[in-house]
Symmetry: C2
Subunit: 451 residues, 2 copies
């Protein structure tokens, strides 16, 4: 009997890949903010990333956010409904927004707050205050101050090798500090990845795993708890499966297929690595700015675009990461704050009042409405704590002419949102035609949204 | 008459090259200390300069001189009779011993004194307290942290060029800070020189000239107010002329003659650039240590060696620069302090009580002793404020057998000391056989020194 029970459990687990608790939290968060802040925000110049990577900022004392208020940042994110907020502890200059004992190029170096500032600390505190899970972004791939280009110290001398060694240990030291001093982190994000020792880089993964066992690691060749969705448009195509064919993704970019595997995932993939969608809030009309720059207020996405993004990211089984840009005063600019509030309000308006809802295990779910009712939006959710099981489904509405197909779909995952022209129906039906294991529906909701 | 007077003055000036007031002070100082202090003092390892130049110190928080007391350092230098004291504000790690706003790799970065330490400031204050003229040593030729080797950023990319530019501006910024924030400096010492813009380096000379018009600049292609004496033995050969054939000396090293021009100078040289002798106090018996290292107490020069050095440096028309080595506690070790006191006392004993002395203008000076007197030491000084004029001289003593030649010399300059086996004489005579312009004798002293 004991043996049999074990066997059953093993079989249950093997149906589909399962998310870790951290991945589950991440997907449930749906919306995350990433705040980019670095020295060049203060230089009054347009940001040129390629140039910035190879040009140290001459005077780091331009960093002087006299009105810095991370509460104001985080409250704005909260108003939009974000449940995770990430801060660039270091970005591509190499300048660290905290009191590092291993990286002298940090807030210890500046006159601001008499060299005692700790923006990472302030930020994490604000997150806790507003009930948002904090995450930290660490850039180790580029460091214009120290001379790091694509993870590497410049040059090929013994000196270069020694400096690479120094840099690697410094990175490990920073990761240790950031993973030790600020409590549990939702995610530690190494942008552009984190080359490990096998690629001549620091061993940041083992430090992360030691100190942040409950967090998401993003990412290196050994581990990627989430994957990039293949664009910075804030959207992914449909379907975007939460599973993937390899345990990490740097090693399977393919020139023939481009970012297609990242965008779509693979329903038969053995690894649970959900995609994310990312975009900067100031990405409208020809701009795409992760950092504050003068005169970019006009390039804040209109509400309509943000909602489109929401449907094509959260509604496509990904977490949407929105780039927010504190200004040289240390505040999120008012136009951005206003737009975030409008966005959060609009999400609440559109998803706060379902006409009907149901959940449970099974292959067919029917919602009966109060007589003929106009509907134009459906939200589906699987219980992904048990994995993404559904492979094919159909949504149908019962009209005066009988059942009509509204949508034939494949992936649901954490969330699938279908928006369509209004139609009058008395019933709505979800039929799962193909799945691995029993389909587990966490939510099946219908709405009628007024313009 | 006015024209004639002017003409006479011009002629007077043209006799020989003259020292600047700063050079005059420097030569009158005779003894200067240079304190070397840098991160690797704290690493517990023997110092390996070649390796140190290409190996960043991994943990700069090893810098923790808990008992730092620059008064103790400077008092020890005072006890030896030093009149100038120099501190390595930066040495070859690149780590700055003060609160720099342009170099993050400084005392701002460390935990010691909560990142508020300013050893340069403490040091200068101690110097003023003890009546010693402070000088600052700035190393810009090497920087193991930032990746500078022999003035240059490693690599040949656009990135390298940008970092070189950054580094050059950083060096200029440090020079501006160090020349602005600590009052008048006796000397600003760029060890290994200071490549200027024409060699791809920073323009430190113009900043020095703007901010420290009364100080010595040491040194670059344009200007060298003193010259290295061609060895680190604490001695120069005889004669060592204060004049030199070129206005600076990086540009006339010659493989055929080695450091010979530096060692001897040139009596016909058009530029007044007196030599210095330098050596570390811990340079005895196979060691030669500018920095504190564990177990080097045995290698402090014995008093006898220090006196030999004195005779062959101060006594050969150079200023002797002695390297002193504060330890990881931030104190000059007691054995060094003791030896310095002994040395100062011995100098006073040997030079404090002349049997006879004279000064004045002329070609022959005779000292009459109180009857037959045993003598074994003679000190000569020119009034070098009017330049080094004497080219040939003879010292004679009148014995029972008549006048006997004691020494046939050439250079006197600031000071010439002749030590010899004791001889009984009733008179001592200095005859200047050749000079440019009238010989001006500031001092002609005879001594009998007991062993």
């Amino acid at each position: 009997m004991t043996v049999l029970a074990f066997s059953c459990m093993a079989q249950e687990k093997a149906v589909v890949p399962l998310p870790t608790p951290a991945q589950l939290k991440w997907q449930n968060a749906e919306l995350a903010a990433v705040f980019h802040y670095d020295l060049h925000v203060f230089d009054g110049e347009p940001y040129n990333q390629a140039q910035n990577r190879i040009t140290p900022i001459q005077d780091y004392n331009i960093f002087n956010p006299v009105k810095l208020d991370t509460d104001q940042w985080v409250k704005a994110a909260k108003d939009a409904g974000f449940k995770v907020a990430i801060l660039t502890a270091t970005h591509e200059t190499g300048f660290a927004l905290y009191q590092s004992k291993v990286n002298p190029y940090s807030l210890k170096a500046v006159e601001w707050r008499d060299g005692k500032g700790d923006i990472v600390g302030d930020f994490v505190k604000s997150c806790r205050k507003y009930g948002i899970a904090p995450g930290i972004y660490i850039g180790i791939r580029w460091n214009s101050f120290y001379g790091i280009h694509d993870f590497k110290v410049q040059g090929n001398t013994e000196f270069s090798k020694n400096r690479q060694e120094y840099y690697n240990r410094m990175c490990e030291g920073m990761v240790r500090e950031l993973c030790s001093n600020y409590g549990d982190l939702a995610i530690v994000w190494f942008d552009g990845g984190a080359h490990g020792p096998e690629q001549g880089g620091p061993d940041v993964l083992s430090i992360f795993e030691e100190l942040q066992p409950n967090g998401l690691f993003y990412h290196n060749l050994q581990r990627a708890d989430i994957r990039w969705g293949g664009s910075e448009s804030g959207t992914v195509p449909y379907p975007c499966w939460g599973t993937y064919e390899t345990p990490a993704w740097f090693n399977n970019r393919d020139d023939d297929v481009g970012f297609r595997p990242l965008k779509y995932g693979n329903p038969d993939g053995a690894y649970y690595i959900p995609a994310m969608s990312d975009a900067p809030l100031r990405g409208y009309n020809g701009r795409h700015e992760w950092f504050w720059e003068p005169g970019d207020e006009e390039h804040i996405f209109p509400l309509e675009n943000l909602m489109d993004m929401y449907y094509n990211s959260v509604g496509h089984n990904t977490t949407l990461i929105m780039g927010l840009t504190p200004d040289p005063n240390g505040l999120l600019p008012q136009p951005d704050v206003k737009r975030l509030k409008e966005w959060g309000d609009e999400i609440t308006r559109r998803f706060g009042s379902p006409l009907a809802e149901i959940s449970g295990k099974g292959k067919r779910f029917t919602l009966k409405l109060k007589g003929k009712t106009k509907i134009n939006q459906i939200v589906l959710q699987e219980d992904i704590s048990k994995g993404e099981r559904i492979r094919k489904f159909v949504l149908e509405g019962k009209t005066e002419d009988g059942w009509q197909t509204l949508f034939q779909g494949s992936s649901i995952g954490h969330k699938f949102i279908h928006v369509f022209d209004g139609i009058e129906v008395s019933h709505i039906r979800l039929s799962i035609n193909e799945s691995k294991g029993d389909p587990l529906i966490l939510g099946f909701e219908v709405f009628h949204i007024n313009d």
